[in-house]
Symmetry: C3
Subunit: 367 residues, 3 copies
C-alpha cells in the first residue's frame, strides 16, 4: 500500500513538494517569528497536500459507485479550501475567510477558466465543449451571487442592525445548501444524461489508476490532518508576511490563498485544455466555483456558530460583491456559446488582471 503511494509520488513532480511538510513544522519550532519564511514554506507544503487530497477523494468516489461517488466529489472536492477557511474561522479571522471565499470564486471563474481557454487555444484553433454543464454551473453560481449580494446591499444601506444581517445570512446559507443539494439531485440523478460527458471525462481523466479503498481512506484522513496543521501556520503567518511583501490583506486573501488552494485543480484543468478536452476544464473551473459558493461558504456560516468566536455573516465588502458578480456574469456570457479560441482566454484573464491590480493598489483599510 505504501509502495503505491510512493510510486504516485515518484510519478508526479508536484508531490516532491511534500518534502516541505516537515520543513514547516521544523521551521515553526525553530523560528516562530520568521513569518515570511513560514508563509513561503507553508504555501509550498499545501500545494502537494491538496493534490493528494484531490486524488484520494477521486479514488474513493470511483470505488463507491456513481451516485455516492458524485456526491463525495461534490462535497469533498474543495476540502483544502474548506480546511484552510476553517482554520481561519477558528482563529476569528473572518476577513480572511471571506476574502478567500470570494477570491476562490473569482479565481476559478476568471483565472482557471481563462488560462484553460488560452492554453488550449494556443494549441488548438477552435475548441468546442458541452454547453449543458457550463450553463448549469453558471446558473448555480448566478444564484449564489444574488444570495451573497443581498446581505451586503442591506448592510451598506446602513439602516439594518447587525442582528438582521446575521439572521438573513443564516436563512440564505440554508437556502444555498438546499439549492446545491437539489442541483446534485438534478445533475447526478434525474437528468444525469445531459451532463454525462463531462462527469465521465472527469473520472477517466486523472490518468492514474484509482487507489485501493483502504489507501484512499487512510490518505484522505491523514492528509486532511496535515493540511489542517499546515493551515494553522499559514493563517498565522499570512498577514505579517503580506506586510513584508508590501501586499494588502485583501490581495493576499483574494489572490494568493485562492491560487494556493486551487493549485491542484488548476493542474488538471490546464492539462485537460491542452489535450483538447475543454469539457473537463470548464467542468472543474465552474464546478469548483459553484461548490465554494453554494456549499463551502454556507457550511462555514453554519459552523461559525459552533467553532467561531462569534457567528459569521454572509456580508462581504462591496468591492468583493461587485467582483463576484462581474466574474459570474462574464463566465456565463463566455461559456454560453460552447466554443472557444485563445482570445476568449485573454478576455477572462484581462478581467482577472484588472481585479488583481485594483486589490494590489487598494490601501489596506479598504479591505
Amino acid at each position: 500500500m505504501l509502495s503505491l503511494l510512493l510510486k504516485e509520488i515518484r510519478h508526479n513532480p508536484l508531490l516532491w513538494l511534500l518534502a516541505f511538510v516537515p520543513v514547516v513544522f521544523a521551521a515553526e519550532k525553530l523560528a516562530p517569528d520568521a513569518h515570511t519564511l513560514l508563509f513561503v514554506v507553508s504555501v509550498l507544503a499545501i500545494v502537494p497536500l491538496a493534490a493528494l487530497l484531490s486524488h484520494a477523494t477521486e479514488s474513493v468516489a470511483a470505488k463507491t459507485g456513481d451516485a455516492v461517488g458524485g456526491l463525495l466529489n461534490a462535497t469533498l472536492g474543495n476540502l483544502t479550501e474548506l480546511v484552510i477557511a476553517l482554520t481561519a474561522l477558528r482563529a476569528g479571522q473572518y476577513m480572511l475567510v471571506k476574502a478567500s471565499i470570494a477570491g476562490a470564486i473569482v479565481t476559478n471563474t476568471l483565472f482557471m477558466l481563462g488560462a484553460s481557454f488560452l492554453l488550449g487555444g494556443l494549441k488548438h484553433r477552435v475548441q468546442e465543449y458541452s454547453r449543458a454543464g457550463a450553463r448549469f454551473q453558471a446558473a448555480l453560481l448566478f444564484l449564489a451571487t444574488i444570495a451573497l449580494l443581498v446581505p451586503s446591499t442591506i448592510a451598506q444601506a446602513d439602516r439594518a442592525p447587525g442582528a438582521v444581517t446575521q439572521t438573513l445570512s443564516l436563512g440564505l446559507a440554508v437556502l444555498l445548501i438546499v439549492a446545491y443539494g437539489l442541483g446534485m439531485l438534478f445533475s447526478l440523478k434525474t437528468h444525469r444524461e445531459f451532463f454525462g460527458s463531462a462527469e465521465h471525462a472527469e473520472g477517466g481523466e486523472s490518468g492514474e489508476a484509482p487507489w485501493p479503498m483502504s489507501l484512499a481512506l487512510v490518505t484522505l484522513a491523514g492528509v486532511t490532518v496535515l493540511v489542517a496543521l499546515v493551515s494553522e501556520v499559514f493563517v498565522e503567518s499570512v498577514q505579517k508576511a503580506a506586510e513584508a511583501f508590501g501586499m494588502t490583506p485583501a490581495f493576499v486573501g483574494f489572490i494568493v490563498v485562492a491560487l494556493v488552494g486551487g493549485a491542484a485543480e488548476m493542474a488538471s484543468a490546464f492539462s485537460g485544455a491542452r489535450k483538447n478536452r475543454l469539457d473537463l476544464s470548464v467542468g472543474i473551473a465552474l464546478g469548483s466555483a459553484a461548490q465554494i459558493a453554494l456549499f463551502v461558504a454556507p457550511v462555514l456560516v453554519l459552523l461559525s456558530y459552533v467553532l467561531g468566536p462569534t457567528p459569521m455573516s454572509l456580508q462581504f465588502w462591496p468591492g468583493a460583491v461587485v467582483m463576484m458578480l462581474v466574474a459570474t456574469l462574464t463566465a456565463a456570457l463566455v461559456t454560453n456559446g460552447g466554443r472557444s479560441a485563445w482570445f476568449v482566454g485573454v478576455l477572462l484573464l484581462m478581467v482577472y488582471l484588472i481585479f488583481a491590480l485594483t486589490l494590489y493598489l487598494l490601501p489596506p483599510q479598504v479591505s
Copy 2:
C-alpha cells in the same frame, strides 16, 4: 345569461370564494376595526373577482376580433392590479402603490414563471417553448427596468431636487407607454406571425367557451366596481393587519398584494404548464410583468396628477430596483434557451425566496 354565469361558478371551484364578497361589506359595517379579519376576507374576495374579470376580458377580446381583442387583453389584462393600485393611489398610499408594482413584476417573473417550470417539469422531463415571445417580453421588461432605475439612481445621489425627479418620471412614463404601444403594433400587427402560436394558445386555452358579448360587458363593468369596493377595505386594513401578522409593509406590498392580484393568472399559467403548454405559461407570466411595468405603472403616474393628493414619481427604493433588475435579468437568461426542466423552476423560486426572506426580515423603516 345569469344561468351561464352560474354554470361558470359551479364549474370553477375558485369562484365559490365569491361568497366572501358580501362578507367583506357586512364585516366592514359590523366590525370596522377588526383589521385582520377585514384583510383576510377582502383577500379571499378579490381572488374570485380577479378570475371573473380575467374571463370577461378574454370573452370580449375573443368577440371583437384579433387586433382589437389583442389590444383589449393587453390593456385590461391586469385590471385587478390596476384597480387595487388606484384605490391605494387615491388614499395617498404611494409606498403601497410602488411596492405592489415592483412586487407584481418580481412575483410574475420569478414565482409565476418558476412555479410553472417546476410544476410542468415534475410531470414532463424536458419542456420546449417558443423563444420569440419570451425574448420580446423580456426585452420590454428590460427596457422598463432601465427606465425605473434612472429616477431612483438620481434621487439616491441626493443632489437632484424632487422637482427634477418628478419631471423625469413624467417623461419616462410617456416614453414607456409609447414603447408599449409600439410593442403592441409590432407583436399584434406588423410581425404578428412570429408570436402567433403563443397568442393563439392563450385564446384557446381557457378551456371554457367565451361568454356572449352582453354578459361579458356587464360582468366586466359590475365586477370592476366590486373589485374597487373590496379594494378599499383591503387597502385600509392591510397595514394594520400586517403589523398584527408581524410582517413589514414592504413584505405585504411586495409579496401578499402581488400574489392576491395575480392569483387568477397563476391558475391559468400553472394549468398550462401541467398540460405541457409552456408557451402559454411563459406568455402569461412575462406578458403580465411587462404590462405592469410599461402600462400600469406609467398610467398610475399620469393618473396621480388627477386622482392623487400629489403627483407620484417613478422613484422606487434602491432594494426594489435591485430586485426588479435581478428578476428581469434572471428571467431573460432563463428563457433565452427555450427549454426547461424542473431545476430551472427551482432556481427561479430560490431567487424569489431570497427576496421574500430579505423583505420579511427587513426592519419597517427601510421600506
Copy 3:
C-alpha cells in the same frame, strides 16, 4: 489630384458644409464673444471634415494591404473624436473629455445601432447579420466597461486617495491598449476568417473608388490640422453656448459632441442598413464604440501626462458608468441573436432617449 477632391465634394452633399470651415475662422476673428454663433458654425464645419478624414483613412488603408490597412482603420477610425478630445485635454477640460468618451460609447451602441436597425427594419421585414463580429466587439466593450467601472467605484467609496485612482487608471489604460492590440491580432490575423465578411463589406461599401495614396495622405494631414483648429473654437465656445441653449454641460458633452464627432460614421451605418447590409452597420457602430473605449480613452490618459496640465484619471461620474454599462449590456443582448426587425431599433433608441432625457433634466452640478 485636386480635381478628384473637388469631384468628391460635388458628389457628396455633406461636403458642401466645408464652406463653414473658413466661416469659423472669420467669425472667431470678427466676433470672438459670439459663443453661440461660434458653437454652431464649428459644429457645421466639423461634420464634413470628419467625413473627409474617414474617406482618406479608408483610402490609405485600401492601398497598404490587409493587415496594415486593418491596423490603420483600427487606430485612425475615430481620429475626429481623438482630435476634439485632445484639444479639450490641452485646455484642461477633463470633464468635457470624459463626457465625450462616455457619450461616444453610449451614442454608438444605442443611437447609431438603434437607428440603423430602425431604418433598415422599416424597409426590410427581418434582417440578418453575422454574429461573430458583433459578439467580438461586444466582448471587447464589456471588458472596457468593467475597467472603467473599477476606478469610479473605488473613488466613490471615498476611502482611496487620488494618487491610488491615478496609478490604477494608468495601469488600466495599459491593460486596455494591450487587450485592444491582442484583439486586432485575433480578428485581423490569427482568426481572420471568422470576421471576413464584415471587414470585407466595410472596405467595399464606401461606394466611391479609393483615392490615390498621395491625395489620401495630404488630405489626412491637412484635414487633421483643420479639425484641430476648428476643435479649439468648438471647445472654447461649447460651455457658454450650452448655457445659452439651456443645456447642461453633461448633456452637451454626452449627446452633442458625440453626435457631431460620429456624424460621418452614422451616414455610412444608416446607408448600409437601408441597403440590407446590417453587417456593415453593426460593425461600424460596435467597432467604433470598442475603439473609443479600448484605444482612444486609454491613449488620452497616457497623453494627459505629456499634454495636459495634470494627469487625467479614468474615473467617471457614477451616472456615466451606469449608462455605459447599460448601453454595453443592451447592445450585447440585442446583437446576440444575429437578427433584427424595426422594433429592436425602437428599443435601443428608447434606452438612448431615457438617458438623453435624464441628462437634459439633471441640474448642472451633477455633471
